[in-house]
Amino acid sequence: MNAIEVRNLSIDLGFGAAKRRILGDVSFSVEAGESFGLVGESGSGKSTILRCIAQLLKAWEGDILIAGQSVRDMPFDEYCRMVQMVFQDPYGSLHPRQSIRTALQEPLRIHRMDRQVERMERALIDVGLNPDFLSRYPHELSGGQRQRVAIARALILEPRILLLDEPTSALDVSVQAEVLNLLADIRARRNLTYLFVSHDLAVIDHMCEQLAVMQHGRLVEIMSRDVLATGRASDPYARDLIQASLEYDQAV
């Protein structure tokens, strides 16, 4: 069964003559346990797709199915325990006046989970942080540490699917590698499904088996990771993008 299935997802903004399509007929599916990448330039709609799946945007048409069930019909708390998200900016995704303990405990309280202390400590250890961090505040942590806390918070409800919105693009290069390895490691351990948005093809190459290339709110091609190495994409834009990325890597 597909963990995520998106069918004909589109968004139109405005009315009448001013109506503009910002996302058009996007369809793809992600198998359970798979890591699926979405790439494209800025403004191509990758994060918008993620926000639709995350139900942070409501005004879309089409179908989004999680484990075969439409998100619109799913009870919301069941959905929350199935899908979680890691945001791009670790400085904006943690509440500045809440301690790490509060940030991690809130979801447990909302879903009335048992063994809260144990779960919180476990969650921090799993992302490579000391349980002492529980009593710290976000301003006492570095960017990489914050992103680890954000990952711990996303994992604390034990979701099956993780939506990752450029989780490393706001981090230093060395920290990026650490966080990516952590994410890969967690996925292998927990058999999670990832939907990974990035504009960096190298990151997608490292993290995902399948990827989709986006341009102007449309999905131009879905390909497997192998195509990246050969550069034999069928769509001209996808080819250009891969070529540009390869040239950039060589130049660096």
């Binding site: 929350c80 899908v83 900016d89 509440h95 048992d114 063994r115 009593s135």
Partner: protein, 301 residues
């Protein structure tokens, strides 16, 4: 369920203690910052004196504020009566000292009414948006479009003269600016990732507003409430002066000026001292509010 509860208490225990010590440290550094600038230090000192005076009024006041002694009426300031006596021979200093209790009562009750109302209206309007936002903001607009004294006058006229009604009337007119402020702040936070994250965790709108949005709005609301205390004192004095606030035997400053007005030309002390007290206290609240804004608003640093 019980075990669950115990567990969560276990987890929060060190948290609350740490929060308390953190809050204490923040409070100390806040006071230090307020005392650092001369203007806010002045405000803080005057308000502290005001609080102590209200608390120790029977000890400080040399005479009973309500004892009438017609043989001793309209005495100019002297060693026996530092601020002189009024037309009924009552000691003005004692009346001003007891008047601090009335002013503080008004300020406290108004702040307790106005802060939460403004915060709730503003944060819910900002968070939910849509027709609810429009509806709430039009109501605040209507309140804001009247001068606050005139509106309180109308309310008091409808409710009947008296201190309690004056407090209610002032409370009803003082919340709209706070609601506006809280709404504006909420609009800047509601799109933040941490709000989205907590929504994805299944937090209800109420939970998000109370736990995530209100703590972020609190500092600016606190500043705004402190600044509006000055206006509250002036409005209360104005209502007292017009005979709609505190009623005559009560030593309310505005009412004292109102009765002293008839003797003002020959006996300046009847209005000068209560007037000076109003000026001093409202100035102090303004300066303290400014100081609080500088100390609490991270954007100003």
């Amino acid at each position: 369920m019980t075990a669950n509860l115990l567990h969560s208490q276990d987890a929060t225990m060190p948290e609350t203690r740490r929060k308390q010590s953190l809050a204490l440290r923040q409070l100390v550094s806040l006071f230090r910052e307020l005392l650092g600038s001369p203007t806010s230090a002045f405000g803080l000192v005057v308000i502290t004196i005001l609080l102590l005076t209200a608390l120790l009024a029977p000890v400080i006041a040399p005479y009973d504020p309500n004892i009438i002694n017609l043989g001793n009426a309209l005495q100019p300031p002297s060693a026996a009566h530092w601020f002189g006596t009024d037309e009924l021979g009552r000691d003005i200093l004692s009346r001003i000292v007891y008047g601090t209790r009335i002013s503080l009562t008004i300020i406290t009750i108004v702040s307790v009414i106005v802060g939460p109302i403004g915060l709730i209206v503003g944060t819910t309007a900002g968070y939910f948006g849509g027709w609810y936002d429009t509806f709430m903001m039009r109501i605040t607009d209507i309140f804001l479009s009247f001068p606050s004294l005139i509106l309180s006058l109308a309310f008091v006229a409808a409710l009947g003269a008296g201190l309690e009604n004056a407090i209610i009337a002032i409370g009803l007119t003082a919340w709209p600016p706070i609601a506006r402020l809280a709404r504006a702040e909420t609009l800047t936070f509601r799109g933040a990732d941490y709000i989205s994250a907590s929504r994805m965790q299944g937090a209800s709108a109420l939970r998000i507003i109370v736990k995530s949005i209100m703590p972020m709005c609190l500092p600016s609301v606190l500043v705004r409430v402190t600044l509006s205390m000055a206006t509250v004192i002036l409005t209360a004095a104005g209502l007292g002066f017009l005979g709609l606030g505190a009623q005559p035997p009560l030593p309310e400053w505005g009412a004292m000026i109102a009765t002293g007005r008839r003797y003002m030309l020959d006996n300046w002390w009847l209005v000068a001292f209560p007037g000076g007290a109003i000026l001093l206290v409202s100035l102090a609240f303004n300066l303290l509010g400014d100081g609080l804004r500088d100390a609490l608003d991270p954007k100003q640093r």
